[in-house]
Structure formats: structure tokens, C-alpha cells
């Protein structure tokens, strides 16, 4: 059975496509080094228009009369108070633009003006090198570094120095932890309250990494001005020990967050990147469940906990719920063993850098 994989990877080769949803212009070239906040590509999408009905506004008697009054052509750029149409004559009446814009069309005595367009700016999202330019759409960026994949994000990008401590990573972030040093920084913790989310917004932090969060805060999280990534799910179970250890190692280093929504079709997933010196292979993206694998539980009483598959059980197993499913015996710590359906396990992939069964708080890679 194909395993579900999650990277909590201390060092790997990362390459990510950063593509516009519509055609636009690409601002980078192959080989160029980029910072997370650099704009790789951008596009303009028409967003706000207004329609000027010259027939009605100037009481034109016929359509052709109205069209003669219109002084603008499609494509013309207008400044505020520019004249769009005028009756002419000694006591000429005029229509002026209420703001800046561009004439989109002149049709049947009506002038359509594009007042505003939305600029879509595709940021690099991670520090690295451009390895491929995709014309009109964006680029592929590559770097070496630590990679932690999450499960939920609020659709924003963020970056900054990682500012946290092991106590916060193990428990709930307190509002008292937010100070002047938090501005522009990426904070990380096990979980947090709504008050913390609000306080962090006021302090203009660069991003927030949490192990888990209450689902009651989803609406709030989607309105935050900074990137929020959830690593293992909803609830109060906090951060797993592998993510915790990895983040603790890199306190003070620059990290980037891509808090994109998880898309199973495309594989886009919320992620944390920590660029590092050194080289490594790309990580595996497919694996089968086997004994000895390090796993994280997705749901239930053990949600977010790290364990190791001791053995795969043959056939299907009758679960306490009454359902039957392929399952494994998973060992947590030294002695706790539980039968867990394979479908509820994420295999934690680490380029073989995790050694043995994880211990609380230990550094788990070479």
C-alpha cells in the first residue's frame, strides 16, 4: 500500500515551481539567486470598473449624438478630472473621470473605464537559485535546506528569523512571548490562543509555525495579515517532537513559510523552508508502508504523536470502531504499543537522517 509521506527533513534538495495563475511577466533569469520576498513574476488582472452612460448624463438625443460627444478612445490612460465627453458649444457641459483609469471600451454611448487592476505578485517564497524560467508564468527555484511539511495554511507567504525557544515549541505560545524582537520574525510554538494570534498581528510578525490549533480559530487564522502554517492538525496536541527538535536547532536562522492550502491533486502543500549550506539528494516522494518506518498519527487520541512501525499486521484488522482496515503495530517511546490503521499514518521521511526511535527532545539526525 502506498504510504502517505510527510517531510520533516533536516537537509534535502528542494525545488519548487512558483507560477502565476494567469499569464504575466517573469522578472528573473536562470541562475539568478532570489530571496523569499523577491517577486519572481507578476501579472495584472482587471479588478474595478466604472461605466459612464453619456447618453443619460448629457441627455443626448441619439446614440450617434452621444458618441460624437465622447472625446476618448479605447486604451487611453486618464487622470482624475480628465474630460471623457462634452456637449460642445458656448455653455458646454462635460463629464470628468472620478479617478485615474484606462478606457476599456466605447460602445453605444457608454464608456467603460478600468479604474483599478489587481497586481498579482508571485514571490519566490524561499531563498534559492532560479533553475528554470517558465515563460509568462514564473520560475522553478531550487535550494538545499531543511524542509518541514504541514497540513494546513492560511494561503500567505512569510519569512524572517526564527524566534522561539524550546519551551514554546513544547507548549502553548503566550502573548508575553511577543516583544519588539518579534517584529518581522517567524515565531513557532506548540499551539496558541486567539489572543496570541491577534497580538502577533499587532506586532507585525513575519509568520507563525504551530504544531496544532483549535479548529474554532480557522476563521480568525484566514484573516491574519501574516502566514500561519499548522504542522500536524487541529486540536491541542501541539507540535511533534521531530518538528520541535528540528526547529529548535535553527533558532535564529532565516526561515520561509509557504502557507498554501494543501492540494492533493497538484501536491502543493504548506511548508517551512530553512536554507542551509551543504548538498543533499532530493527526497523520495513515494514509499510503501514497512516496519521500522518513523510515522506520525493523523487523527484520534494519538494525533500528532511520533512513533515507529514495529510490524505490519497481515490482511485486515478489526478495529474498536467495528471497521476493518489494513493496520500496523506502532510503538511510541519505549513501551506503548497500539494497533493503528495504515491509512491514519504519515510516514516521516528524513533522508535516513533520523536515527532509531525518536526520544523526547533529542537531536535525531547526524
Amino acid at each position: 500500500m502506498n504510504a502517505q509521506l510527510t517531510q520533516i527533513n533536516p537537509l534535502t534538495l528542494i525545488h519548487r515551481n512558483r507560477l502565476l495563475p494567469v499569464p504575466g511577466s517573469v522578472n528573473v533569469r536562470e541562475g539568478q539567486r532570489v530571496a523569499p520576498e523577491d517577486i519572481v513574476a507578476e501579472a495584472s488582472i482587471p479588478a474595478r470598473h466604472y461605466l459612464v452612460d453619456v447618453v443619460r448624463a448629457l441627455s443626448a438625443k441619439t446614440l450617434s449624438a452621444a458618441e460624437k460627444m465622447i472625446t476618448r478612445k479605447p486604451g487611453e490612460v486618464l487622470q482624475k478630472n480628465d474630460i471623457i465627453a462634452e456637449t460642445g458649444g458656448l455653455f458646454s457641459r462635460v463629464i470628468r473621470t472620478p479617478g485615474e483609469g484606462r478606457v476599456v471600451s466605447v460602445n453605444k454611448g457608454r464608456v467603460l473605464i478600468e479604474a483599478e487592476s489587481t497586481r498579482i505578485k508571485m514571490q519566490a517564497g524561499l531563498a534559492g537559485k532560479v533553475t528554470q524560467v517558465i515563460p509568462e508564468r514564473g520560475a522553478t527555484i531550487q535550494c538545499y535546506g531543511a524542509l518541514i511539511q504541514g497540513v494546513w495554511g492560511n494561503a500567505l507567504l512569510g519569512c524572517g528569523p526564527l524566534t522561539t525557544d524550546y519551551e514554546s515549541l513544547s507548549g502553548e505560545l503566550k502573548t508575553s512571548a511577543i516583544g519588539v524582537t518579534s517584529r518581522g520574525a517567524v515565531l513557532a510554538g506548540g499551539t496558541c490562543s486567539e489572543a496570541f494570534l491577534a497580538a502577533a498581528a499587532q506586532e507585525k510578525i513575519g509568520g507563525l509555525i504551530l504544531g496544532s490549533i483549535s479548529s474554532s480559530l480557522i476563521s480568525t487564522a484566514l484573516e491574519l495579515p501574516y502566514a500561519l502554517i499548522i504542522l500536524s492538525g487541529f486540536g491541542d496536541h501541539g507540535m511533534d517532537e521531530l518538528s520541535r527538535s528540528l526547529l529548535a536547532t535553527y533558532i535564529g536562522r532565516d526561515v520561509s513559510i509557504n502557507a498554501v492550502k494543501w492540494n492533493r491533486l497538484t501536491g502543493d502543500r504548506p511548508e517551512v523552508y530553512i536554507p542551509l549550506e551543504g548538498e543533499a539528494h532530493a527526497y523520495e516522494e513515494q514509499a510503501m508502508y514497512t516496519s521500522g518506518q518513523t510515522v506520525r498519527l493523523q487523527t484520534g487520541a494519538y494525533a500528532g504523536r511520533i512513533g515507529r512501525i514495529e510490524s505490519l499486521l497481515p490482511g485486515v484488522t478489526l478495529l474498536p470502531s467495528g471497521l476493518r482496515a489494513a493496520a500496523a503495530r506502532v510503538v511510541f517511546g519505549e513501551n506503548l504499543r497500539e494497533i493503528i490503521p495504515l491509512s491514519n499514518l504519515d510516514v516521516i521521511f528524513s533522508n535516513d537522517r533520523f536515527i532509531g526511535a525518536p526520544d523526547e527532545g533529542g537531536v535525531l539526525w547526524h
Partner: protein
């Protein structure tokens, strides 16, 4: 020997779902088609595999192991047609719901007329209506234009105007759509489905075709009272199938092997409910409900009318849409143990993140069943709002999908269905144990014999015949005496109290005569029924008399509510 059938065939059906790919092998056993083996594997049309082939291969490998028949060659190719040795299959079918829904904006004239029909059109298939723009819209022209530009839908359904009716308003609306098409960059422009005033069809098609692809269909609202959704639905389904072929990796490669082109899951489901609707009591009609992982379906049909609603919610990734609209308290009220709403909410949101996950504990499965109840209720409310069903009396009710697969105990399946549907009158409840209905509907287009014979097989089981009684009597008061006379001359009698639910044992396949004797204080719907004994079919849960009233009202107090829910489970003998 395959005798008695004109063209005996072995048939392989694959359903590619949003989470699981299921395979079913059918063949002839004793002159009749039977389900030989089933298997499933996680769907592989997602990253990183992006091809349905892997999951199909895994499913076929397991089916081979189960039935000892070779279906795939060493090269990995499906053996088609079957060999004289019996290996391989003669027919191969695919049905799927593994794609994202079409994002739609409806543009028309009146909200209560053409735009209402457009909404129904979207509800019938995998289309998500994001916005409607009509002539009574209070937004300015430029705001409507900006809305179209911001949403960037896959499709604009352009409707409005009765055939031969006024055209000026429609032309003005067409100008709005035409302007939006011009402003959107090529490659991001929506397609147009024109299904409005037919007098303008050719003219407007010409206008829109300058910018995008246009499909046209007869007017969905040819007159003020009349509605004609079918032809437009065919076009809409064709668009959904185009998207399906684009999104599902490996489908185009696999399609030529199929006996008929791959079908949408909801089409197959509806075909079977329509077929059943012609077989049963025309005054009642057949109800089919299927809660899936991403989408759900509710279908109703009798000999005159039929209706299909496809919902953009389910028990997997489709949970997010459902949770955003609803109140978590409506879900947690069905739980038989005290648990904070936040825990229920967290569990369900996690389920939406991990659609492959399985409920491992009793608490987890109870939470899933609670949300399934609410989904069934939402589906019934929507069906009722269409005002097509003459009543909430059905014969039978067919349950498919997660309402079956996510429940291990038949009693809980029964309670889940009754709590969610809350039917009236007398309804047999049938479980589609392997969720075969959509696939059978797809196969039926080419091999109707298989579909008919499978319906009569053990792949479908009668869960119970339920007699639903409503009364205004106080809870706990004696309501009626129910006596079930068995074929062997024995009988079973029980007193039914208001607010209770009881079961009279009657094995699946057996029949009995049910006599209801009302007490003086009770009222009952379908009064005529109590004058004569009612012939009832047995089921896994026997014959059930549901006297809990309609709608079912649960106590506000959590303790009393849990006690009552447990009592209902106990009365029916839940494990």
C-alpha cells in the same frame, strides 16, 4: 457452463473515487450475474503518481488473489476479452467522481424564474454555482462586471427569457458577459452554455464565439411555468466530463479499453434510481442517497418525475464545505457520550485534511455518523425544496456510499438513516453494501441484465421495513399495539409508546403480516393502513416501528439527550 443467457459475459467495473478506487468483478453463477469479488485501493490520480493506472493495477491484483483468476497479463495489460481459459474479462466499465466541480456563474433575467432553473441545473451535477446575475440585481453594471472578472468561473450559464419573449433585457445582459470575456486574458475565459430564449440563440452564440467556446441547449425555462432541464444538463455533464478527462491522469489512455466511455458517478446512480422508480409504488417513489468523500447525491424517482441533486460536500475532503456552512452543535447533538464541541470540530476538520483516514475508535466513528446524519438531513431539506416529491413516503429507500461503509453495525446504520431522512409511512430500507449502484447504472446502458440481476442478489440487503408513525400524544403514552404474524403461524406482539422505536424480528427474505391497533389517544398517518394487516418484508433489523414523531426533537439538556439516544439504540438492540 454459461447457459441460459444470450451473451454471457464476465464484467469488470471500476469506480474511481476521490479517495478510493474500487473494483468489482461480475460473472454468471447458476444462470445469473453475481458479484464475484471486490477490492479497493487509494486513488492514485493525485500527486505524485498522477495516474489512475497504479490504483487500478493494485485493485485488479487483489481481485486476482481473491478469485484465483488472471485478469492482467505479465506486461500489466488487462486481458480483454476473456480467454477460453476463463482468464480476463469481456466487458470493462469505469465510473468516476474524482475531479473538482465546475465553477459556474449563472446570468439570466429573473431570480425566481430562469436563474432558479439555472441553480437547479447546477445542483443536478458536479457544478458549483458561485454567483447569479439577473436584471433585478441591485449591483451596478460595473459591479456585476467586476464580480465576473474576480470570480473567473469555468463556465457561464446564460439563460433567461421565455422562447419568443422579450429580448432587450437579455441583449443588455449579453453585453455584460461579452465585455467580461473581452477583458479576461485568453486561456482564463469561461466557456458559455447558452440555454435561454431560443430566438436569440444563434445571434448570441455568434457574439460569444468571438471570445470563447459556446455550447447551446434548448431553453431551460421555455415558458414562465415550464422547465426543461434535461437537454442543458446533458451539455453541462459533457463539460464536466471534458474537465474529468483533463484532470484525471491516465483516464484518456484507459478509456479505449472501456465497453462504453467512462461515466460520471451521479449519472449511473440516477439511471438506477429511475429504473427502480418505475418498478415500485408510483404514489411513493424511490429515494436513493449516497454520501461520498467529496460529493454526495440524492435522487428521487417515481413513474412520472425524477430528480437528482449532487452536493459539494462529503465525509472526506468535502467536509470542509459542510463544516463552513453548519453549526457544530447540530452535529454533536447526535452523540451518545459527552464531548466538547471543540473536540468534535477538531476531529472533523482533521478528517477533511486526511480523507484516507479510518475511524479507529468508537468515539471517532460516532462523530462520523453524527455528521452523516446532518448531511442526510441537509440533502432531504434540499430535495424537499424542489417541490417535486409528492410526499416523504418512499418505497424503497436505498442507501449507498459512506452511509453504509462507515457504519459497522446494522442497527446504527438504520438509526442513522431514520434520523437523517425522517421518512413518513412505510419504507423498506435497502443497503447497497458495496456501493454498486453508480457502477450498475453505467453498466446498464450496455448490459441491463447484469444490473437487474445484481439488484436481486445479496449485494443488496434489506435493512428493515420501517413503519413511521406520527402522533401528538405525550411522550411515553401508549400509542399502539403492533402484532407481527409469521408465515409459520407464530406471532409477536408489542406495545409501542410515543417517542419510542421498536423492532419486531423478521429475517431477511421472510414476509409477515403486521397488524397495528391504535389506542384511543393516538393518531396515525395513513389511517387506511391500520384497518387491514400490512404485508411486510423482513430485514437485518426486522420490522421497525418508529414512533419518535416527525420531526425528531432531541432534548436540549445534554444528559437527557444522551439518555434518549442510548435508549433508542438499546430498544433496537445495537451492539
Amino acid at each position: 457452463m454459461k447457459s441460459g443467457l444470450a451473451q454471457p459475459m464476465s464484467v469488470l467495473g471500476i469506480e474511481i473515487g476521490d479517495v478510493h478506487t474500487r473494483g468489482h468483478l461480475f460473472d454468471i453463477v447458476e444462470n445469473s450475474y453475481r458479484l464475484i469479488a471486490s477490492s479497493s485501493a487509494p486513488t492514485t490520480s493525485f500527486y505524485p503518481i498522477l495516474d489512475i493506472g497504479d490504483a487500478i493495477y493494485e485493485v485488479l491484483s487483489r481481485i486476482q488473489e481473491i478469485c484465483g483468476r488472471t485478469l492482467i497479463e505479465k506486461s500489466g495489460e488487462l486481458i480483454l476479452p476473456a480467454l477460453p481459459t476463463g482468464d480476463g474479462v469481456d466487458q470493462f466499465y469505469i465510473t468516476t467522481s474524482c475531479f473538482s466541480s465546475l465553477q459556474v456563474v449563472a446570468v439570466g433575467l429573473l431570480n425566481d424564474v430562469s436563474l432558479d432553473s439555472a441553480r437547479k441545473l447546477c445542483n443536478a451535477t458536479y457544478a458549483n454555482l458561485l454567483e447569479s446575475i439577473g436584471i433585478n440585481d441591485r449591483r451596478s453594471y460595473s459591479q456585476q462586471l467586476d464580480t465576473l472578472l474576480t470570480i473567473r468561473p469555468d463556465l457561464v450559464i446564460f439563460t433567461g427569457g421565455t422562447d419568443g419573449g422579450a429580448s432587450r433585457s437579455l441583449l443588455r445582459t449579453a453585453e455584460l458577459v461579452s465585455t467580461a470575456l473581452q477583458l479576461l486574458p485568453r486561456g482564463t475565459r469561461p466557456q458559455i452554455l447558452y440555454c435561454g430564449n431560443q430566438v436569440l440563440s444563434a445571434q448570441l452564440k455568434d457574439v460569444f464565439e468571438r471570445y470563447t467556446t459556446v455550447r447551446s441547449a434548448p431553453n431551460i425555462r421555455p415558458s414562465f411555468e415550464g422547465e426543461n432541464l434535461e437537454p442543458a444538463l446533458t451539455e453541462l455533464d459533457a463539460l464536466v466530463m471534458e474537465k474529468m478527462n483533463e484532470e484525471i491522469g491516465g483516464l484518456k489512455r484507459t478509456s479505449p479499453l472501456c465497453t462504453t466511455p467512462p461515466q460520471l458517478k451521479n449519472q449511473g446512480f440516477m439511471r438506477m434510481i429511475k429504473f427502480l422508480g418505475r418498478q415500485y409504488d408510483p404514489l411513493k417513489g424511490v429515494l436513493g442517497l449516497d454520501v461520498g468523500m467529496n460529493y454526495s447525491m440524492a435522487a428521487y424517482s417515481n413513474d412520472r418525475v425524477s430528480i437528482l441533486n449532487t452536493f459539494n460536500f462529503g465525509i472526506g475532503s468535502g467536509l470542509e464545505a459542510f463544516l463552513r456552512k453548519g453549526d457544530i452543535k447540530d452535529i454533536s447533538r447526535w452523540l451518545t457520550f459527552p464531548v466538547p464541541d471543540t473536540v468534535v470540530s477538531d476531529a472533523l476538520w482533521n478528517r477533511s485534511l486526511f480523507p484516507l483516514s479510518v475511524a479507529a475508535t468508537k468515539e471517532e466513528i460516532a462523530i462520523e455518523q453524527a455528521v452523516l446524519r446532518q448531511m442526510l438531513q441537509a440533502m432531504m431539506i434540499d430535495l424537499e425544496s424542489r417541490e417535486i416529491m409528492p410526499s416523504l413516503r418512499f418505497e424503497p429507500i436505498v442507501l449507498s456510499g459512506c452511509t453504509v461503509s462507515h457504519v459497522a453495525d446494522p442497527v446504527r446504520s438504520l438509526l442513522l438513516a431514520l434520523d437523517g431522512i425522517q421518512p413518513l409511512g412505510i419504507s423498506p430500507l435497502i443497503l447497497d453494501k458495496h456501493s454498486l449502484l453508480p457502477l450498475l447504472g453505467t453498466i446498464a446502458a450496455h448490459n441491463s441484465l447484469l444490473a437487474v440481476q445484481l439488484l436481486e442478489s445479496t449485494a443488496f440487503s434489506n435493512l428493515a421495513t420501517v413503519v413511521n408513525i406520527t402522533s401528538k400524544t405525550r411522550a411515553g403514552s401508549p400509542l399502539l399495539y403492533a402484532r407481527l404474524d409469521y408465515a409459520d403461524g407464530n406471532s409477536f406482539e408489542v406495545e409501542v409508546k410515543q417517542g419510542s422505536i421498536i423492532s419486531l424480528p423478521l429475517a431477511p427474505g421472510a414476509t409477515g403480516l403486521l397488524r397495528l391497533r391504535l389506542t384511543s389517544r393516538a393518531e396515525i398517518e395513513e389511517l387506511a393502513l391500520i384497518r387491514e394487516p400490512i404485508k411486510v418484508q423482513g430485514g437485518v433489523c426486522g420490522v421497525v416501528v418508529d414512533a419518535r414523531g416527525r420531526p425528531i426533537v432531541l432534548p436540549e439538556d445534554q444528559g437527557r439527550r444522551i439518555e434518549l439516544l442510548k435508549e433508542w439504540e438499546f430498544l433496537l438492540g445495537a451492539a
